[in-house]
Symmetry: C2
Subunit: 205 residues, 2 copies
């Protein structure tokens, strides 16, 4: 594609570096900005650079944060005895949106994936172990770890590795339930999920 | 969605203002930038603001341009006797990509649409008429106008309006051919297109 302007071309090239955005979409977005106020483009550019420069990772759980300690870790009403281990910040958001969990988190920052060359040392696993070994008396002692990882091969590998690492601490280790989604149709469920949901059936109380 | 950081929230809100990008996609893009070098975010932000501040519209054809005259209008090897009228810059790019057209362009900057309140006075129609009335002796005289507008109701209305406006100039006025796309299957063509392509059949020479 030959652009009428070097400025447009540069902008399109940069926008097209974002995942899932091709040249055509990038051009549409750039032309959209041209039709809007200059201010909108400036606010967008400013908020992106500010975010990139100033956002931090919580020193306790590695979640994204505006401070050294994130809002969840700093909240005294959260239950410090449960830690939910997740792959990244989006999973924290997903669990938070359920409003069903009041414990803390630990963000691994990825998942063990030999194909992509990501091993346990690339993840925040050591700092999870440290959270357990270096508990001060002021802290609520951790009693349970929930492994909330995706049910993929990489997720299962990571969960298996973590279970081994966590075994010495004699905590309750759990994983989120696998089964048929609420509103899901039995007919269309894959056999592995349906099989597991029969094995992990829940007794009526 | 409750974000762990105000900075992230602001960035997501701004990105989600772009057309076709929702909050979830915006979050994915923002988290992607966080995983990349700070430099990438800065280059992106810089290229967007630069583009927005500095890009101009060609004073002759209203195409986007880095200068007061765009690269196509300034190119002496383009055929100044033909002007192709298009809706916006993307259409210029589309025609340029065919490498089949060596004339000039005129970008209307939109299309007549009573529903959206866009009338002829909102488009660069007056300046097209001016291009025809104020031709200097140095310019190549315009002999043909091609109306390359989308075959929609708005496009047809605009083309009809332009034909009326251009009639006094005694130019050749043409429109791009409508018909079955190359590689298109007759079976799946809509009846209007197929009907038109029979009426406008082309004789073998």
């Amino acid at each position: 594609m030959e652009f009428p302007s070097k400025l447009i071309e540069d902008a399109v090239t940069e926008v097209a570096k974002l995942p899932g955005i091709g040249k055509k979409t990038a051009l549409r977005l750039v032309l959209h900005l041209l039709k809007r106020d200059e201010e909108q483009t400036q606010t967008l550019a400013h908020s992106l650079t500010e975010m990139r420069l100033k956002v931090q990772y919580c020193r306790k759980c590695h979640n994204l944060s505006d401070d050294t300690l994130c809002g969840i870790c700093a909240n005294p009403r959260r239950d410090g005895s449960i830690v939910c281990v997740v792959e990244d910040t989006r999973d924290v958001l997903a669990v938070e949106n359920t409003a069903q969990y009041k414990g803390l988190y630990h963000v691994l920052g990825g998942i063990i994936s030999p194909v992509e060359g990501i091993g346990p040392s690339d993840l925040h696993i050591d700092s999870l172990i440290q959270r357990l070994t270096q508990q001060s008396e002021a802290d609520e002692p951790v009693k349970e770890i929930i492994l909330a990882l995706s049910p993929t091969m990489e997720g299962d590998t990571t969960a298996f590795y973590l279970q081994k690492k966590l075994r010495p601490f004699q905590l309750k280790i759990s994983t989120i339930a696998r089964g048929i989604p609420i509103g899901g149709d039995l007919e269309y469920a894959d056999e592995v999920t349906l099989g597991r949901s029969i094995l992990s059936r829940i007794a009526y109380e």
